[in-house]
């Protein structure tokens, strides 16, 4: 099913995440991060940080705080099992730390297809700001929607 191009430009509800040290330590554990600057507040401060730094890819998690983060895809008629991450880009404006309350504002910016429509691509941009409204980062994600293996046979 082709995606409806009218979603381009549509904004999603803003999501906010109060970043805790506990959550960042869980992220460090899950990603095998043994660098103490990411788990030990004293080590972070010795490195010049005001608290545990939010690691480079964690900003992706803010919009996953939505009550049902996959609802938008489902509403577009997309089966979550057919979704792959195609590309991901981060541009940084300032560091974020544990204790910051980060807000993600996202919108769809492009829809296109390849292989005669067998692969569909959905591009989404997210602006992350901190509790003062200052820009933290801009994210750009391309999602690939592919046929289920075995579909159409």
């Amino acid at each position: 099913m082709a995606l409806d191009r009218s979603i381009v430009g549509r904004e999603s509800p803003a999501e906010t995440l109060l970043v805790t040290r506990s959550r960042l330590r869980a992220f460090a554990r899950a990603t095998g991060q043994a660098d103490p600057r990411y788990t030990d507040v004293d080590a972070a401060k010795q490195a010049g940080h005001r608290d545990l730094p939010v690691p480079p890819t964690f900003l992706f998690s803010i919009e996953l705080e939505a009550p049902d983060p996959f609802r938008e895809l489902a509403d577009l008629g997309v089966d979550l099992r057919t979704v792959l991450h195609g590309e991901q880009e981060f541009s940084y404006h300032r560091m974020a730390y544990a204790g910051d309350e980060l807000t993600a504002r996202s919108r769809f910016t492009d829809v296109y297809e390849k292989k005669g429509g067998a692969l569909q691509f959905l591009v989404r941009e997210t602006a992350v700001t901190d509790q003062d409204g200052a820009p933290v980062a801009t994210l750009r994600r391309t999602t690939v929607i592919r046929p289920l293996p075995g579909a159409g046979r």
Binding site: R29, D35, L64, Q88, E89, S91
Partner: protein, 134 residues
């Protein structure tokens, strides 16, 4: 690392084989609860033999490669393409190589080619980062 210049390789980062436990922990810590990564029943219902790792898990490993080599506040931007899925138990290695150093205003910016490769040679991520050197 010696003075960064085109051709300089970043110290590579070898990751242990990705366990199901890691996928469960990453689902919780990242907030990406897509069951295709953690629930064998869902993976099989999609015609797959097994679960596969979150793309952002591999990108987080590449992030470690970068922050091992440079203070994080020097990372300006980066972009990756996910070129193949990472099966559970796969063993990624992250590598990076400086391909250019350019002056930009009062900064020197290094452009770094990034790559994640599995033990069987499959390339799963490629990308580029721009990092300020001073």
């Amino acid at each position: 690392m010696t003075e960064p210049a085109p051709g300089t390789e970043l110290p590579s980062l070898a990751i242990e084989p990705i366990s199901r436990t890691t996928l469960a922990l990453f689902a919780g810590a990242s907030g990406d609860h897509n069951p295709i990564h953690i629930d064998l029943d869902v993976a099989r219902s999609a015609g797959l033999d097994d679960v596969f790792a979150h793309g952002l898990l591999s990108m987080a490993y590449l992030g470690r490669l970068l922050t091992d080599a440079f203070p994080q506040q020097q990372l300006r931007s980066w972009k990756v393409r996910f070129t193949a899925i990472t099966p559970v138990h796969a063993q990624p290695t992250c590598t990076g190589r400086i391909i250019a150093v350019d002056e930009s205003g009062d900064e020197r910016l290094a452009t770094i080619d990034l790559r994640v490769t599995l033990a069987d040679g499959t390339e799963t991520l490629t990308g580029q980062a721009v990092v300020a050197l001073d």
